[in-house]
Symmetry: C2
Subunit: 510 residues, 2 copies
Amino acid sequence: MDGTKGEVAGPLQREGIDSGDEFIVFLPDGDGSPGLPARTRVRICVGQGTACPREAYATVYVGRCGGAAGIGVSESLWHALAPRAGEWAMVKRTPPPASMAWVRATMHGHALPPEAMREVVRDIAARRYSPIETAAFVAASAHGNLASREVAALTHALIESGFRLAWPGRHAIDKHCIGGLPGNRTTPIVVAIAASLGITMPKASSRAITSAAGTADVMETMAPVVMDAARMRRVVEQENGCVVWSGGLGFAPADDRLIRAQRELDVNAPAHIVASVLAKKVACGASSVLIDIPVGPTAKVRTREEAEVLVDLFAQVADDVGLAVRTLVTDGTHPVGCGIGPALEARDVLAVLHGDAEAPTDLRERSVQVAAAVLMLSGRYTSEIAAREAANHALTSGMARARFEGICLAQGGMREPPRARCVQVVHATSNALVRGFDCRMLARLARLAGAPEFPEAGVRLRVRPGDRVEPGQPLLELHGPSMGSIESAAGYAAVQSDLVRLDHKEGAVV
Amino acid sequence: MDGTKGEVAGPLQREGIDSGDEFIVFLPDGDGSPGLPARTRVRICVGQGTACPREAYATVYVGRCGGAAGIGVSESLWHALAPRAGEWAMVKRTPPPASMAWVRATMHGHALPPEAMREVVRDIAARRYSPIETAAFVAASAHGNLASREVAALTHALIESGFRLAWPGRHAIDKHCIGGLPGNRTTPIVVAIAASLGITMPKASSRAITSAAGTADVMETMAPVVMDAARMRRVVEQENGCVVWSGGLGFAPADDRLIRAQRELDVNAPAHIVASVLAKKVACGASSVLIDIPVGPTAKVRTREEAEVLVDLFAQVADDVGLAVRTLVTDGTHPVGCGIGPALEARDVLAVLHGDAEAPTDLRERSVQVAAAVLMLSGRYTSEIAAREAANHALTSGMARARFEGICLAQGGMREPPRARCVQVVHATSNALVRGFDCRMLARLARLAGAPEFPEAGVRLRVRPGDRVEPGQPLLELHGPSMGSIESAAGYAAVQSDLVRLDHKEGAVV
């Protein structure tokens, strides 16, 4: 065993250490340590020469539990290699991926040829990139100067890195909301409306990245969302629509990794948003996409100018990848509905579908607006008035509700969203007029309360902009799994004076 | 112990796992796992309320050796916290550093105010940034559009993040070579010449980053280089000069971390080079700096245009930080000297200082050229002719050699550079004219042979550009600690037909 060659072999051992999605190889210290110092990048191969060879790229740490011999691996790597008992692994130093040259070119501001993105994305999909290399690509490609041609190349590369669905004989429509607007959970309602009217909407949604809930999290409180593409297809063939988790489908694995790196860096560049969204829509088999971009001072997109950048980039790249796209720039000033957090938003969705008297009217109105746009995209409705009427009728008649129940049952069964064990009310302390909320702070508040890890956690608004409040009147409720999480959230709320924007001058009771 | 608060305390345990410079906290799995999932960023505090509280920022992994309780830490973190026996640690979830907002602003192409760089660098120096966040800063700031004002701000921030030396009553001169030119090891010779002529040259050099040897590595084969600032000062007060390792001095700790990240990404942007070099020169107490920029098709700087970018940026930033700077743009077409690798280059240095007949003339000539420029910078010589004469005389008379020996003894003792256990010769296979070498491939070859980890390893050239060779004639020697490393290097050499550029048409013996 020659250490200077940077190579070692041995029986694979499960170290029992969870390092998240980062692949770690633990090599023995001392004499067993074969010239592969900590932080070396290696290629680990299992089952060479068998019918099922597997390989992965990992980072070396030195030291084994109990000083054992053999090759230790972290949990995620163990699962990726799926070794049989006693199987041997070969570990060898590996050079940085050649495609990192493209990442460096981007760092230095050079434009990239189309094959560059393809090679980078292919390597990221193959988990060839270390978390640091992925972060460098994200940082370098976040630059506003990335030409639409390069964003299109990135989009194509993302599509090619995974597999694609097709819906023969159907015109599949998709929708996406840029996000940052708490409670704006129109998707399940829109899908139900559209599907009940014969429109195909095979919706694959994500979990929360930096927000308090993703559509997949909200839907999951009402029905199973984790399924493979075959199962998803059966739901859609039966009900015209579905709302499932995109992660279970194997689309664009590179996209998941990029999103994870973007989340760690809290980056949300237009280039990334457009490439990721459109790649997933194409992978889902959509021909047409509706993009909802809420604009507001505390939403993700803060100005109309920023929105225009996105609208233009979406249009250019969609054209390049063969998607028909329509963007709606909507009002993102205020949160939508009452609930923020998976289960709390689910209750708002159900209230709208059931036509409950206390269903949030803003959520209902936005859902009708978006559904109408989807109906127009389908080509079956040529006037907005007719489309709105049809959408409205689907709700009031109960057709959408029935279709939603059908979708839930087809996805594996409908259930009631969970309720939080602990609820604490935050009250007004003086007379005031509610001017509005800081949407970003609301999302952070819901996360502190425990969303989305605890689906029952979050925030429930008890007032709307324009309401007048008196001392002692509930402003909002904190829902959480324990008093600890509630205290954490309450502490944050206490120091964020702008979370609920109260106008005390205007608040005096007349 | 409320898991959702993201906080846990327990006795500190040394896990015995070396994760390099990345700080890892290992938390117990199962009931002990307190809502701090793998990859969470945390702040770990030890000795709160005592006279000596310590803290660090780390990443969580879940799982402990043998399922133990308590807080496990990786080796580097254990050393950083330096806990007493049985000391308790508190671990708490920590938000991303606020200064990351500046990194994101850079990612999106916005210019930064001066305090931005200060905050980012301060956080990096305090090890607040995860490796991923550091990589993002490196990638975002590598962009060619970073204004000279921002590079100056980065330089100031790097200086402020560490401590500075001063040389009262002395005019300290420093030099730096951009690198990428194998064997261009002029520094020890230049320092010896200048110091023997009464010029103060307190040289703090780095180890190899991406090359086969750094000046600190080469010097270390001849004398100790690891010392603190007080020791360095004593050497300089006694001998006028020194060549020590900058890493032992505590300058600009943020710079070390940035360099490490740049190395992992193989990035070498002008902004980083200029900021890092000038910050270290100011920290070293220099008033004047000579910068040598070798330009050649296979050097680090490939064209005169690239060199001009560096020359301009050096001039602007040096002016901002109060350094007098002079740049020499030199010929980087061919490697210098015979040896590539710490000990092999040291032998060339000693041969020049000793005036040996077989000393490489190109290394001698370049050293005289650089030394003359240093002598001019000092102000003591006003004509280049006089400066060259003085430099030449210092060599031929043995004054420089004696001063070099004095420096080595003052640094702790002079020793003979080690010799490699295994040497293999690569021969020519036909008649040819040697046109030149690919400098980057030569460096890679030397690294494969084992440099700089094995100081005796590397490459020794047996021919120079312009030589004619016959079949069987030695082209170069591979030096390594074992046949395994030699084979690794030989394999690379065999497939790189451009490593030694041979012209077979011109090679025929007349």
